[in-house]
């Protein structure tokens, strides 16, 4: 094991330990917030895998998040399966949707890829509205309290929910770390840096890209599925374009191409909105100004800037 790898393991292990310890010290409000942030940060980590490491900018990730959310929610509400099975159904469904959409969208590149993914996501959103008989359209539906337990663990209980969110986040973090440190991850970075060179070196770039989309979609779907069972609501707003833009924002803020960036970005954005809304009704203006300053002074995001200035080995 190299020294950088050891440092990386210590840092990420420390972050996980810290998150675990916070379970016991945080006040109720921030305890609930952090559970939600961990779930959404997993979504952002999936996005980062595609955008930050592979260089593919998708504007349609809400579709994968929603596929996990609805796959899980509908499995429970329409077919009466248990939350654990529904969670797996949601992740599988989201991954499948990701691979199919990815196979089609990868026929394009650059701006066209962004537009095609955006259009597919919009089609997904309208599909949810169209099948309102099952999905309750824009209103969405509630996953009953009784259905939100896995092996007797009540997911609506604050401690259980926190642990569940922690497990989801840990799984996403470990997966991202493994991927970016693996040979597969190095090829993704090579594609991001110079796609033609990667192709000339003999790599099947399209296959690698499709695999990246599949992995990214599976994390988005895991996050969506977890959100449904942990917070009890399945709604079409999660499939709207806003939820495709948000992971991009979280990743850019935290630092694209850094494993911890998505967590930092999600946390930063959450509390920026939460705190500024307590100061003024024009809180989006505050948020906007802060984001402009961040873009000016930390263009690589918070963790990206940290890597540039101090911690060169940060994955």
């Amino acid at each position: 094991m190299t020294a950088d790898m050891r440092k990386s393991l210590l840092l990420h292990g420390g972050v996980l330990l810290g998150l675990l310890a916070l379970q016991y010290v945080l006040p109720a409000y921030h305890h609930g917030n952090l559970a939600r942030v961990m779930v959404l940060a997993s979504y952002a980590m999936g996005y980062n895998l595609l955008f930050g490491y592979t260089g593919l900018l998708s504007l349609g990730h809400a579709l994968f998040f929603a596929a996990g959310l609805y796959g899980t929610g509908l499995a429970i509400s329409q077919f009466g399966v248990s939350a654990g099975v529904a969670l797996a159904v949601g992740v599988l469904f989201g991954t499948l949707v990701g691979i199919v959409i990815g196979a089609l969208a990868l026929r394009t590149e650059g701006v066209a890829f962004m537009i095609v993914t955006l259009m597919f996501a919009q089609a997904g959103y309208l599909t949810i509205l169209y099948f309102g008989q099952y999905t309750r359209g824009d209103e969405g539906f509630v996953i009953a309290l009784a259905d939100r337990n896995i092996s007797g663990w009540d997911l609506s209980d604050p401690s259980v929910r926190y642990f569940a969110a922690f497990i989801v986040f840990s799984a996403a973090l470990l997966m991202c770390l493994t991927v970016v440190k693996s040979r597969f991850g190095k090829v993704l970075i090579a594609i991001r840096e110079n796609e033609e060179r990667a192709r000339m070196l003999g790599y099947n770039v399209d296959r690698f890209k499709l695999a990246a989309i599949g992995l990214s979609a599976s994390l988005a779907a895991l996050s969506g599925a977890a959100y449904g069972v942990l917070f009890g609501y399945v709604g079409a707003s999660f499939a709207s374009v806003q939820y495709s833009i948000l992971p991009l924002l979280w990743v850019l803020l935290g630092g694209a191409g850094t494993v911890l960036g998505p967590l930092v970005g999600t946390l930063f954005m959450f509390y920026l909105i939460d705190l500024s809304s307590g100061i003024t009704t024009a809180y989006m203006l505050i948020a906007g100004v802060v984001l402009v300053f961040l873009t000016l002074f930390a263009p690589q995001g918070l963790m990206g800037e940290l890597r540039r200035r101090a911690i060169r080995w940060l994955p």
């Binding site: 309208l126 309102g132 359209g137 824009d138 509630v142 996953i143 309290l145 939460d274």
Partner: protein, 434 residues
């Protein structure tokens, strides 16, 4: 903050006359006292905190602005009258961005950071449905002002109640007798192709059929649509009534294009004012609506036989006889809905006083006290009209109003009975644990 000491109970029992005298004297004296002193007799002078989940941004902002004003006016009135159980009412407002995710976060904030006694005031259905599970888990009484059928349908939980505004199912079905008897029995429905529109489609279709009528065509308009002319040829020629309920910024285009399509020869038209809440009926392009009919939860224009309660409500909230702000005649209110905030806060006051509410430990007692309510008489507390609350379904039922556009104003032509709005119970929340 100063806390008063509890007064020890003496051994002598007061007579009823003594009690009435004391109440009368106390009431008069309380009104004359400065605000801080009025609450000194309560066991604690800590305010009762009402977490107000308000749509200040997002699609619900126009409604949110008026819900905010109405809530502030109701809270001011309640405080002038001595508060709740002798304690002042404090509104803690948080913007939910009309977003269900943020809505759930705001509910958590009320319960765990602001230490609010209740959550209150949510309008848009998706925000209610997204927030209610968290309110139930946190055991925070959640009083919504949404008119969605989600409460009475049994989808939510025992901590979610809608005692200040009727739901869409009761509103829609109460319209059918008037439409069938006065406008025609062959109806074409035009509605947005999402849950709100589907509710209208399903409930009105069943209700008009029960009146011997029929819906000839359902025309669902996709929510992203900005031009409507291409849908109008689908309207069957023998249509006697067009039932329309469009919402969002495209509604003005919808009405204008409908006018251009039909010209002077149009069928009767009946719509829900939701389409035109906060919009001046006299706006250019809306001339086509003259002579058409609307459902209104509460008539926007002060009618000739306006009740003293409605006059009082308008004055306190700051709404003129045309339903606009007294300070800006162009700032049209959401009059058909916003009374719900006023009435809900009065229900909360009555419920807390009935339950002897002291703090969060009495939240369950508050729920039970509201569930025990039935008749709510027409009064300053209920200026929209008398109501009947169903404790099992957590839903209130009340009169509905049908107005006709005459010379750019909405004139009342029909008031339904409360019984017209009843339907069989679909849930019994009282069976759920508190």
């Amino acid at each position: 903050m100063t806390k008063s000491k509890a007064v020890p109970v003496t051994g002598t029992q007061p007579t009823r006359r003594d009690a009435l005298k004391t109440l009368a004297l106390g009431g008069g004296a309380a009104a004359a006292m400065p605000l801080w002193a009025r609450y000194a007799g309560a066991q604690t002078s800590e305010p009762i905190k009402v977490g107000f989940q308000v749509h200040r941004t997002g699609i619900g902002a126009a409604y949110g602005r008026w819900y905010d004003r109405t809530t502030s006016a109701a809270a001011a009135l309640i405080n002038e009258q001595g508060g709740i159980n002798g304690r002042p009412l404090k509104i803690v407002a948080e913007d939910d961005g009309t977003d269900p995710k943020r809505g759930a976060e705001v509910v958590e904030k009320f319960a765990t950071q602001h230490n609010c006694d209740i959550g209150f005031g949510t309008l848009f259905s998706h925000v209610v449905i997204g927030s209610a599970p968290r309110a139930g888990e946190l055991k925070l009484p959640y009083f919504v002002v949404s008119e969605g059928h989600h409460v009475a349908s049994g989808m939510l939980n025992r901590y979610t109640l809608q005692p200040g505004i009727t739901d869409v199912k009761s509103q829609v079905q109460a319209m059918a007798p008037f439409v069938a008897d006065n406008l025609g029995k062959k109806v074409t429905m035009i509605f947005p192709d999402f849950a709100f529109g589907h509710d209208h489609r399903d409930y009105f279709t069943a209700a008009i059929e029960a009146q011997g009528g029929e819906v000839l065509e359902h025309i669902a308009i996709p929510p992203t649509e900005t031009s409507f002319t291409k849908y109008f040829p689908k309207i069957p020629r023998d249509t006697e009534v067009i039932y329309h309920v469009m919402v969002g910024p495209a509604v003005l285009t919808f009405v204008k294009e409908l006018g251009e399509f039909f010209g002077p020869q149009r069928p009767e038209m009946f719509g829900f004012i939701d389409s035109l809440e906060a919009v001046d009926i006299g706006s250019p392009g809306l001339e086509f609506l003259d002579g058409t009919y609307f459902w209104e939860g509460n008539p926007r224009y002060a009618q000739e036989d306006q009740s003293e309660y409605d006059a009082f409500f308008r004055e306190r909230v700051g709404v003129d006889a045309n339903g606009a702000s007294v300070s800006d005649p162009k700032d049209v209110s959401t009059y058909a809905h916003m009374f719900g905030c006023w009435e809900t806060l009065h229900v909360v006051k009555a419920g807390m006083e009935s339950a002897g509410y002291r703090g969060p430990q009495d939240r369950a007692a508050l729920i039970e006290a509201v569930e025990a309510m039935t008749d709510m008489p027409h009064s300053n507390a209920h200026p929209q009209g008398a109501k009947i609350f169903n404790g099992k379904t957590h839903q209130v039922f009340g009169h509905q109003y049908i107005t006709k556009v005459v010379d750019g104003k909405l004139l009342l032509v029909h008031t339904t009975s409360i019984e017209d709005t009843f339907y069989p119970d679909e849930a019994d929340y009282t069976t759920q644990a508190l």
